[in-house]
Amino acid sequence: MTITGIAALGAGLAAIGAGIGIGKIGGSAMEAMARQPEMHGKIQSSALILAAFVEAVALFGVVAAIILK
């Protein structure tokens, strides 16, 4: 396996992790919104921010893959 292949694999793994993370955030946010519809706006913005934090990790993976390419 070439270094590019390994890098791509790493990026994919990072994406899986981020996918799980964002999925959990989204699921919990939906649940919270269903429970408390009056907090809709606040939950949505915090979910977005948290998703951004999780996503950053995956993006670091992607960037690492680009660097190694």
Binding site: V63, I66, I67, K69
Partner: protein, 164 residues
């Protein structure tokens, strides 16, 4: 690799453009826009506050009115009560007086009746005495026209006297 290598020229131009944009917008756009928005919000807040104040004042006024009305009502009540009392008293007084008057009149009438009765009695007595005398005279005259009977009477009279 090349994708994540920042080009110096673009960094330079971005910095300059962004700084100018920030400067201009800050001075000529954000300040007036935010200022206007804030001013309007303050205006709304003030208007709401004054409306609230007016409402409170209105409420106070209302409460005052209510109080005055209540006072007036109680006053009326007391006045009515007083009037009623006075009326009752007046009626009672009148009744008493009338009663007194009536009883006095009755008394007078009784007294008059009594005296009338007395005088009538006296008159009757006199009349009866006269009548009795007349009757007695007539009886005696009739009796005494008979000699025996005169004697008998004297005797019974004497018998009575003896007893005494």
């Amino acid at each position: 690799m090349e994708l994540i290598k920042p080009g110096f020229g673009l960094v330079f131009w971005t910095l300059i453009t962004f700084s100018i944009l920030l400067f201009i917008l800050r001075k000529f756009a954000w300040k007036p826009i935010l200022g206007a928005v804030e001013e309007r919000e303050d205006g709304i807040k003030n208007a709401l506050a004054s409306a609230e104040k007016a409402r409170k004042e209105m409420e106070n006024l209302h409460a005052d009115n209510e109080r005055i009305l209540k006072e007036a009502r109680t006053e009326r009540e007391t006045m009515l009560k007083e009037a009623r009392d006075i009326k009752a008293k007046m009626i009672a007084d009148a009744k008493d007086e009338a009663q007194a008057q009536a009883s006095k009149m009755i008394e007078q009438a009784q007294a008059a009746i009594e005296s009338e009765k007395k005088s009538a009695m006296a008159e009757l007595k006199n009349h009866v005495a006269g009548l009795s005398l007349d009757i007695a005279e007539k009886v005696v005259r009739q009796e005494l026209s008979n000699k025996d009977k005169q004697l008998e009477l004297v005797e019974s009279m004497l018998g009575e006297a003896k007893l005494n």
